[in-house]
């Protein structure tokens, strides 16, 4: 119920779910079960959240609390993932909050055309994330302690040149590999988006992220897409490919997000 201390959190907008209700025991942000607000052929998936956390001022500080952010992000994704089993939702940015259902309806009214266009673009499709890493061992300089003492200055310089050449070769190989993989995967995608490389500290890896891309792929074409990614296994030593997904179309929620072909599977 909407009381003075509750706000309306909106997860996503989708087409009416028809006979496919959300699972009964699903809980979202703030532990609240998601509900539906329907307006002119569009449905907002919403939940009650406490004003003490989600009004502007508290939210600003909450977002800098990593535990709170993590819990909120996972709860948001839980609802979106459940939606993905029954439809292709248009996800909203984390922590989009309205005062009440009337505000949500006004938003659906004002943004209706944009939502319908986006939902048409996402219909029957999912997002896959593909990342390429240069593994630390392949990119690192050998530790000085591991080297035998150079017999002469000339030996030393020769060895340094060889090391540098090996490193350059690794980076060139990584760039070429990432470009070729991206080209190949783009051919199987309706749209693509390149994200900035991930921060190694956030990603908890010492490997260097050289490609961080998202692909919008038809559900029926996804098996082939995943097989293509799997087939890159063992293709290049020292490089690692990571696949994430399927995601809702987070990276393709605005027309300007997408690059590349429109009318592919």
């Amino acid at each position: 119920m909407t009381g003075t201390s509750e706000l309306r959190y909106v997860y996503a907008v989708c087409r009416p779910l028809g006979d496919a209700p959300l699972q009964a025991d699903l809980t979202g942000v703030a532990g609240a079960p998601p509900g539906l607000v329907e307006h002119h052929g569009l449905v907002a998936v919403v939940g009650d959240v406490p004003e003490r956390d989600f009004a502007e001022a508290p939210l600003r500080s909450r977002l800098e609390d990593l535990d709170w952010l993590t819990g909120t992000a996972r709860a948001h994704q839980r609802v979106i993932a459940a939606l993905c089993t029954v439809t292709s939702p248009l996800p909203l940015r984390l922590a989009t909050v309205f005062r009440d259902d009337s505000g949500v309806r006004t938003m659906l009214e004002q943004e209706g055309d944009r939502f319908r266009a986006a939902l048409d673009r996402l219909a029957g499709r999912v997002e896959w994330g593909v990342k390429v890493y240069v593994e630390e061992a392949a990119a690192a300089e050998p530790a000085p302690a591991a080297e035998p003492a150079a017999a002469s200055g000339r030996d030393y310089l020769r060895r340094r040149r060889a090391e540098r050449a090996a490193r350059d070769d690794t980076w060139q190989r990584a760039e070429r590999f990432a470009q070729e993989l991206h080209d190949e995967l783009s051919g199987q995608a309706a749209a693509t988006r390149i994200h900035p490389p991930q921060n190694p500290e956030l990603a908890r890896t010492s490997d260097r992220n050289v490609l961080n891309a998202a692909y919008l792929v038809g559900r029926s074409a996804s098996e082939e897409f995943v097989e293509t990614v799997d087939a890159t296994k063992d293709r290049e030593p020292g490089l690692r490919v990571e696949l994430t997904g399927p995601w809702a179309g987070y990276s393709f929620s605005s027309p300007e997000d997408a690059e590349g072909g429109e009318e592919q599977p």
Partner: protein, 62 residues
């Protein structure tokens, strides 16, 4: 070896989508996370301090 890994969603992948993706709306309350870069910078600072002082929370986040 090039390895294709599939595992539980890492926080960094989740934040890639939830803080940089999704429709940005002018809600009627609302702090819009349009200033994603700002949030991220703060987050990076936060994470550095987490790593220095309390390394333990991290394994469960990946």
């Amino acid at each position: 070896m090039t390895v294709v890994e599939r595992r539980e969603i890492a926080l960094v992948d989740l934040l890639d989508r939830l803080l940089a993706g999704g429709v940005v709306l002018a809600g009627d309350v609302t702090l819009r996370i349009a200033d994603v870069d700002l949030v991220r910078i703060d987050l990076k600072a936060l994470i550095s301090s987490v790593n220095e002082q309390v390394p333990s929370p991290w394994p469960e986040l990946t």
